[in-house]
Amino acid sequence: MTTRALLAAISGCPRRNIINSSTFSPSLHFQRQESRIIARSFSSDTNSSLPDISRLAETARISLTPAEIEECEPKIRQVIDWFGQLQQVDVNSVEPAIRAEMEGGSLREDAPQTFENRDNIRASIPSFDETYLKVPKVLNKE
C-alpha cells in the first residue's frame, strides 16, 4: 500500500528537464583532458582479420560443437567490432593502469605452511592414485 502511494507521488510529479531545473544550478565541472574523443565509429582499422573462432577455442582449450561455433561466431564478431571504438581514442602518452591506484602489493614471507585440510583437497581430485593426480598421456602434435 505504501509502495502504491510512492508510485502515485512519483508519477504525479512533473517531468523536469535537467537543464531547465530551477532548483539546482548546473555549473559544469570538468577538466580538459589531453585526449580527445573523436567520432565514435565502431569499426577498427587495425589489422582486423576477423577472429578465427576454432583457433581461439583451441588456444583456450575449449571444445565447441559446430552448432556452438555457428551460434557464438556472429556474437563474438559483433562484440569485438564494438571493442574497435577504443582505437579512436587518443591515448598518446597515457600510462596504462594495471589496476586502480593502490598501495604497492604487499607480499608475505615465502615460508611454506602445511594446509590443515589436505584430505578435503584430495577428495576433490577427480582421478587420484595415491599421491598422484592421474591424467591421460600427452601426445605431441605434429
Binding site: 508510485l7 565541472h29 588456444t59 559483433q78 571493442f83 586502480a100 577427480p126
Partner: protein, 414 residues
C-alpha cells in the same frame, strides 16, 4: 558447503576452506544460511546465465533480479535473510540492488579481502554487501573489511567504525547534510536512460538538496569509453583466471585418451555459453598482435577514467547517478543480444575501473509489475570513503517518504 559459481564445471565442488570474508562473519557469530544463485562465474547481468536455474525478481516474478549477484539481491528483497554477500566486478552488486529494491554496497578495491572469492577479473573484482537498509549493509561491510595477508591487493588502510554512525532520525537536524557537495553525472541522464529512471534520479537530487546538499552537474568526458574498456579488460583477465578450471585437480572431469582433449572436453562441457564467449574474446584480446590494440589500450582508457573521477571528486564529496538505465526487464528479453545486455552496465563499470566505493539504494518506483518496479540511486565516493557514502545514504533513506521498499509478493512485512 557446495560452491559452484553457478557452473556445471564445479557442480559437486566443496571448497576445503572458507573465504576470509566468510571466516570473519562466522567468527563474529554470523549465521551462514546458504548460498545463492548467480550468473555463471559472475558473467552476466540477469542471473539467467546460471547453469542451474533462473532467479525471479520478488517485485515481479516474470522479471529478472539483475546480475550477476541476482540471487543475493533477491534473497534480501524477499526477506529470506537479513544481509547477503555478492561480488561486484562491473556492477554485479549494484545493479541487482537497484532491480530488487535493496541496498547494494560496493567497497573500494582492496577494502575487503578477495581471498576465497573465485576470481573473474582480478583488477576489478570486489566482494559487496546487500541489506534491506543502509545500516545493515554498513554493518556487514564492517564485519568483512580489513587487511588480509592472503590477498596481496588487500589494503592496510584503517577500517573506520562503519557500524556505529547510524543515528536515528530523531537526532537529525533540519538540514542534516548541510554543505555536502553532490555532483550529478551529466552523462548518466542522457538518451538511452528510461524517462522514469531519469525522473526518479532528479527527484533524488532534489531530496538531497532539501537535506542541505549542494547539487551541481559534473561531466566525466571519458564516461562512454568505460563500457568497451571494461569488457576488454574483464574478458581478458577472465580468460586467464578461468584457465584453472581444467578438470584435473577439482571439478567435473570428462575423461579422454589425451591430455588436451581432457582439458577441451571438461571445459567445453562444463562451461556455459556466455562464459565460453567471454573466454574466447579475452583470448583474442590478449593474443600476439592484438594485445596493444585491445588490452593495453583499455588499460590506458582506465587511466583517463580514473583521472576524470578524481577531478570530479576533488570538487565534490560524492557523485550520483542512476544505478541502471532501466528498471528490471522481463526474463528472456536480452538473452540473445550481448551488446544490449552489456549496455545496461553503463552506470556501474566505470566505478570498478577506478576502484572507487559506491552504494546503491532504492529511491523510487517506476511503472511495471504488480506494484511498480524499484529504481536505485547510485552514490560514488572517493577511495576508502565508505563512511561518507554510508552517512549520506542512511540519512537519505531515513528521510525518504514511504515506509520502505517491500516487494508485493511478501505478506505484511513492515
Amino acid at each position: 558447503m557446495p560452491s559452484t559459481a553457478a557452473s556445471r564445471i564445479l557442480e559437486h565442488y566443496r571448497p576445503p576452506f572458507d573465504a576470509t570474508a566468510v571466516k570473519k562473519i562466522k567468527e563474529m557469530g554470523g549465521i551462514v544460511v546458504g548460498k545463492t544463485n548467480m550468473d555463471e562465474f559472475g558473467m552476466g547481468s540477469t542471473t539467467e546465465a546460471s547453469a542451474f536455474q533462473v532467479t525471479a525478481n520478488p517485485w515481479d516474478l516474470t522479471r529478472v533480479p539483475g546480475g550477476s549477484s541476482g540471487g543475493s539481491a533477491a534473497a534480501v528483497a524477499a526477506r529470506q535473510c537479513m544481509v547477503s554477500l555478492g561480488s561486484d566486478t562491473g556492477g554485479s552488486v549494484r545493479q541487482p540492488a537497484s532491480f530488487c529494491g535493496v541496498v547494494g554496497l560496493k567497497p573500494t578495491y582492496g577494502r575487503v579481502s578477495r581471498f576465497g572469492l573465485m576470481a573473474y577479473a582480478s583488477s576489478l573484482d570486489v566482494i559487496g554487501c546487500f541489506g534491506s537498509t543502509v545500516a545493515d549493509a554498513g554493518m556487514l561491510l564492517h564485519a568483512v573489511s580489513g587487511y588480509d595477508r592472503f590477498d596481496s591487493t588487500s589494503s592496510k588502510q584503517d577500517v573506520p567504525e562503519f557500524d556505529t554512525q547510524f543515528l536515528s532520525m530523531d537526532s537529525f537536524e533540519s538540514k542534516p547534510l548541510k554543505g555536502v557537495r553532490v555532483g550529478l553525472i551529466r552523462e548518466t541522464l542522457e538518451e538511452g536512460v528510461d524517462s522514469g529512471v531519469r525522473s526518479a534520479t532528479q527527484e533524488a537530487a532534489s531530496h538531497l538538496e532539501a537535506l542541505g546538499c549542494v547539487v551541481t552537474e559534473v561531466s566525466l568526458p571519458s564516461f562512454s569509453l568505460g563500457l568497451p574498456a571494461y569488457y576488454v579488460i574483464a574478458s581478458s583477465e577472465s580468460s586467464s583466471n578461468l584457465s584453472r578450471y581444467d578438470g584435473v585437480r577439482y571439478g567435473n572431469q570428462v575423461m579422454a585418451d589425451e591430455l588436451n582433449k581432457l582439458y577441451e572436453c571438461s571445459r567445453g562441457q562444463g562451461f556455459g555459453g556466455e562464459v565460453k564467449m567471454r573466454i574466447l574474446m579475452g583470448t583474442y584480446a590478449l593474443s600476439a598482435g592484438y594485445y596493444d590494440a585491445y588490452y593495453k589500450r583499455a588499460q590506458q582508457v582506465r587511466t583517463l577514467i580514473r583521472k576524470d573521477f578524481k577531478a570530479a571528486l576533488d570538487h565534490n564529496d560524492i557523485l550520483i547517478s542512476p544505478a541502471a538505465p532501466s528498471a528490471a526487464y522481463k526474463i528472456g528479453e536480452k538473452k540473445d543480444d550481448p551488446l544490449a545486455m552489456y549496455a545496461g552496465d553503463i552506470m556501474t563499470v566505470n566505478v570498478n575501473l577506478a576502484g572507487l566505493p559506491a552504494i546503491v539504494l532504492p529511491c523510487g518506483l517506476v511503472e511495471g509489475g504488480p506494484s511498480g518496479l524499484p529504481v536505485g540511486l547510485q552514490m560514488i565516493g572517493a577511495a576508502f570513503d565508505e563512511e561518507k557514502l554510508l552517512k549520506v545514504g542512511h540519512i537519505f533513506e531515513q528521510t525518504l517518504k514511504g515506509s520502505g521498499f517491500v516487494p508485493p509478493t511478501l505478506p505484511n512485512v513492515a
